[in-house]
């Protein structure tokens, strides 16, 4: 990074050595530099491929900063790694591989447990320091929330993970995207991957958020507008004072669902809140680079939203882009409410739900699943009025599960909260494709934690404004 800054300084002094310069980049004059205005995504990709700038559509090789895998895709990735680099091969950099079992954890399923054993064995053989084992003090839960909690997310980096919601980490001003086992096996052995530079779409949120809206409403509105293929092969950058007013967890919710519009990555330039969060979590205090899109950067499309005029949103079955406003479908009868996952299982989500549920009783089965063990611990200590959030949920009649992905993706039939029948559920999760939470004929409505909590109290889809006045 320091070399890069020196290089920049040299560039602006217009005195680059003609040949054999730092990083082996071609010499460039200051006016050329100004012309090549780049988006944040382009800047990060360029720097990781040793280029001064990149163009959308260009195929490049990049150096990867962090590779993450979990119990569902880890065993396959390890298989690809062994098959191609040899049984005795070592990962490219022990410090850059993070393994977080989170999907099928609290189940009696033998195969699921076997898969965690595969991870354990690999971690032991390789001596990997960043492993969060099931049944140990270190166990975390959902990988996308565990990554920032444990200091593995930093602005300006490239994070790849064998999970499509790896895009969540774009909230930290980095390039983060999901990859398959073969790609991950390749990265594990080489630290490199090829990427096609995506064009960037920009979403600008103006105005102050009303108290009945959450980031979930914003992103469901965006996906409803552009469709679940509206950002295919493209970067989604979120910008505007409405975004920077959000806390880090809410920004993660925005980026988390970029994939539901087909986006390659979601990204928010880092500000002081990001820097403070990252510094408070990274025990190794690795240096990082804070950047943002240049003033003249080219965006493939720009959509501007005034958040003051938005209303609470749901995605109706069976697609995240099947948008409706809560006031349009209020009164729809429900069988279950679910609050959890990497999208809706963070402290901000539970604070919002608790505000609505405090002192009241749910009318339908309500499942609460903290994303991580840290969130679970905080539920026991953080108070709203005289009660902890955990007490508020239990007193309301909700059931609380253990930190993991749980029923967000269905999973084995004994999974906590899984929809084992063709019932109708309102959920803070991110996907409602047929069968996603279990039964093929079950219907899932996606909504914000405020809307889900309000609906749990009535057993009908309910506008949170009814309980917030």
């Amino acid at each position: 990074m320091i070399a890069y800054i020196v290089l920049l300084a040299l560039r602006f002094s217009n005195e680059l050595p003609a040949q054999g310069g730092l990083l082996d980049l071609p010499p460039m004059r200051i006016w050329e530099w100004k012309m090549a205005a780049q988006t944040l995504t382009e800047k990060i990709l360029a720097r990781h491929s040793g280029k001064s700038s990149v163009e959308p559509g260009e195929n490049i090789w990049v150096d990867v900063d962090i590779l993450m895998t979990h119990d569902v895709c880890g065993p396959g990735t390890i298989g690809v790694f062994h098959q191609n680099f040899g049984r005795e091969a070592k990962v490219w950099d022990k410090d850059k591989v993070v393994i977080i079992p989170d999907h099928y954890i609290f189940t009696a399923d033998k195969m699921a447990n076997r898969n965690v054993d595969v991870l354990r064995q690999f971690v032991k053989e390789q001596g990997l320091p960043h492993y969060y084992d099931v049944g140990s003090e270190r166990y975390k839960g959902v990988c996308h929330i565990a990554l920032p909690e444990e200091g593995h997310t930093r602005p300006g980096e490239i994070l790849l993970g064998t999970d499509s919601h790896t895009c969540t980490a774009g909230a930290f001003g980095e390039f983060a995207t999901g990859i398959g086992n073969t790609d991950a096996g390749f990265v594990m052995g080489t630290g490199k991957t090829w990427l096609k530079v995506p064009p960037t779409l920009r979403f600008v949120f103006k105005g102050d958020m009303p108290p009945y809206l959450m980031a979930k409403d914003l992103i469901l509105a965006v996906i409803g507008d552009i469709g679940c293929d509206g950002a295919t092969y493209q970067a989604m950058e979120f910008d505007g004072e409405g975004v920077y007013a959000l806390n880090i967890e809410e920004r993660m919710t925005l980026c988390n669902m970029a994939i539901e519009a087909g986006g390659k990555n979601g990204i928010i330039a880092a500000d002081q809140k990001t820097i403070d969060f990252v510094k408070s979590r990274d025990k190794a205090s690795k240096p990082f680079l804070v950047e943002k899109s240049d003033a003249g950067a080219r965006f493939a499309r720009e959509l501007v939203y005034d958040v003051r005029t938005l209303r609470p949103v749901v995605a109706k079955p069976h697609s995240p882009d099947n948008r409706a406003y809560v006031d349009e479908c209020k009164g729809t009868k429900l069988d279950r409410a679910y609050i959890g996952s990497c999208t809706g299982g963070k402290m901000t989500d539970f604070r919002a739900a608790a505000k609505i549920l405090a002192g009241k009783e749910v009318k339908i089965d309500t499942f609460v699943v903290p994303a991580t063990t840290e969130v679970a611990r905080n539920l026991k200590t953080e108070k709203l009025g005289n009660h902890t959030l955990e007490e508020i949920f239990l007193n309301a009649g909700a059931k609380i599960g253990e930190a993991s992905c749980a029923a967000c993706l269905g999973g084995p039939s004994d999974t906590f909260g899984r929809l084992n029948q063709a019932i109708r559920c309102i959920s803070t999760t991110n996907r409602n494709f047929p069968g996603r939470m279990g039964h093929k004929q079950a219907e899932v409505f996606l909504a914000s934690p405020l809307t889900v909590a309000a609906s749990a109290l009535t057993g009908l889809i309910t506008d949170p404004r009814e309980f917030l006045s």
Binding site: H82, I179, N181, D183, G185, S319, G410, G435
Partner: protein, 190 residues
């Protein structure tokens, strides 16, 4: 799989937004594709998440496997609509189709990660068409794809459709995946 210029087989037709939960439901992700026998088992569960009415268009309610326990399907080519393979990054999705004997998918376009996984592992050929073939081809039609000529012929009806060139992924598919490709280019030791 090595890339063959001619791919011929029976069509199984699906609609838009066939997501990875439909292609391989999460409950089967406990199988480890790195183990050969478990890889084969994915074939049996391929498309298990497609709601019956949407399986085998235009009629629907057409089973993808003749018998529930069959590992391999009677169909070799899937015809889909828009955004095929959206949703999760699970490579189990193209693996399940490969294990079920699918050689190619023909769709209007793909979700990014599915496309990449299909190519990287060399599992299936993800062909694209400008036409909305999921409303023209019927499940059971005999199709013949000529990749070089970028043409798909419906041998049952005699119709011909053009395919988009596979373009930059051809060398990877020809090599049989990203690892053999990288080795052939000297990027990895062979």
């Amino acid at each position: 799989m090595k890339l063959e210029n001619i791919i011929q087989g029976k069509a199984y037709v699906l609609g838009d937004n066939i997501d990875t939960d439909q292609i391989i439901p999460a409950e089967f992700l406990t199988l480890n594709p790195a183990i050969a026998e478990e890889y084969r088992q994915f074939g049996r569960h391929a498309l298990a998440g497609v709601p019956p009415a949407q399986g085998g268009l235009p009629k629907g309610h057409v089973l993808f496997h003749k018998n529930e326990t069959d590992l391999v399907s009677d169909y070799q080519i899937i015809v889909g609509g828009r955004n095929f393979g959206c949703g999760s990054s699970r490579e189990h999705a193209p693996i399940a189709l490969d294990a079920a004997g699918i050689k190619a998918v023909v769709a209007e376009f793909y979700a990014r990660i599915f496309y990449r996984n299909a190519v990287n592992g060399g599992y299936i050929v993800p062909a694209e068409t400008a036409e909305r073939l999921c409303e023209k081809v019927c499940t059971g039609d005999e199709l013949r794809i000529n990749l070089e000529a970028c043409i798909m012929e419906n041998l049952t009806t005699g119709e011909k459709y053009s395919l988009r060139p596979l373009g930059e992924v051809v060398p990877i598919l020809e090599a049989g995946g990203v690892f053999p490709y990288a080795r052939s280019k000297g990027m990895l030791p062979s």
